[in-house]
Chain length 217, copies 2
DNA sequence: AGGAAATCTTGACACTCGTCCAAATTCGTT
DNA sequence: AACGAATTTGGACGAGTGTCAAGATTTCCT
């Protein structure tokens, strides 16, 4: 019984701050180890001992920094969002033409498909879990919402640069991009070498589709 | 050591047939119990004892009809396909106008969203599992492919009736419809009462989008 | 009816799991 | 250096897991 009440009477706020920092720092460290382990093994088969082993600490320490397993997983989900969402923001601002934006956005999606594949599969795993465990839904919905806003910014900007309004709302646009990314991820993890290029082409084409600026085929 | 080698010498094929039938019948029965249990609890938390309890048999019988847990799960996945894919086939053939097809197809999707929500969440759960367990990928990919063909038939027929060719290929079309269905499922299971109607409108609009026949908004 | 094969039950096994806790260790202050 | 608090360890617990096999029960043919 040492933490979580910030414990004893401290005169100077500096000491308390330092301690909180250190506590939070280790939490983050353990959270990252958990994130890595979860993205390796998946939610169904990741135990606290697996996570501890990946962190270099013993398994008992996890209950010192997290109340229980659910607390740890929730922390990981929130941390995933921090890692993931920020990635596309500069893409929107730097592009000056519709095709340029499309190319840059597609390149960014392909990059994260290749580099962060295991992290993304964890996301889809946890989102599926939220279909069964109600306690996950709030966090999952929040991440979904922020991803939807990200897509909305991209589509809106693309439509602006192309001069034609979008033909569908943000929820549908997000669902569509999420759908092709998910398919691309499955193929990427299956070792399909054409998955990145297909995703790139798909993203570019889908931006054209949602703004009605694509030719028939 | 009784089955799987079809065992001893039988003179009449009729007897063997009957036995195989009975064996397969019970396999199906247990598979359905497993399907129900999995769709209730999710892959991560379903044990063989849970499944047995839902089937009315003891837990030992599962290893009489299935080699191991993976064998059972695989059987369930294949059975899901049989249950699920056949549902839309008559929709395509009966419709005679584009808007009629759209309405009927959307209605069918809404119906299965409402009635088979727990079954669909199992599908997304198992597809996520296939991102981690390579042994699932073949079956998952096969189901994905047959769903893609189903979507392709609908979109192709719709484009035919509307007189305008589709603006994207089957993989992208499937990814898009899968995306909005997944979002709708999440909202449906969260208790959002507008999820069915939103899905209906989304499907209709998406058919218009992929054929380039929708007005700007 | 009798007996063999098929089917089902039951209990056990070797693990792994999340959780907890007392002891050991490290850290920061005086 | 020394003391108290914070941190870390490692073992223990009870519950739950998949798997297996021996025995009980049912089914079916002669």
């Amino acid at each position: 019984m040492t933490r979580s009440a910030t414990s004893t009477g401290e005169h100077t706020g500096r000491i308390a701050r330092r301690r909180v920092d250190k506590f939070e720092e280790r939490r983050r460290e353990l959270g990252d180890a958990a994130l890595q382990t979860l993205s390796e093994l998946g939610y169904a088969r990741t135990s606290l001992r697996d996570i501890a082993q990946n962190s270099g600490f013993s398994h008992g320490v996890l209950h010192y920094y997290f109340h229980d397993k659910f607390d740890l997983i929730t922390y990981c989900v929130r941390r995933y969002k921090a890692v993931c969402v920020q990635r596309y923001d500069d893409v929107v601002t730097t592009a000056s033409t519709a095709s340029g934006l499309a190319a840059e956005f597609a390149a960014a999606m392909v990059a994260t498909l290749v580099e962060d594949a295991v992290l993304h599969r964890l996301w889809y795993d946890l989102r599926s879990q939220s279909l069964f465990e109600e306690s996950f839904r709030a966090d999952v919905a929040e991440i979904d919402a922020s991803l939807e806003r990200m897509i909305e910014r991209v589509v809106r900007r693309y439509a602006e640069l192309a001069g034609t309004p979008s033909v569908c709302g943000a929820p549908m646009a997000y669902a569509m991009f999420d759908g092709i990314f998910q398919q691309a991820l499955l193929r990427q993890l299956s070792g399909d070498p054409s998955a990145p290029e297909d995703l790139r082409a798909g993203v570019v084409q889908m931006l054209a589709v949602v703004t009605g600026t694509c030719e028939r085929q």
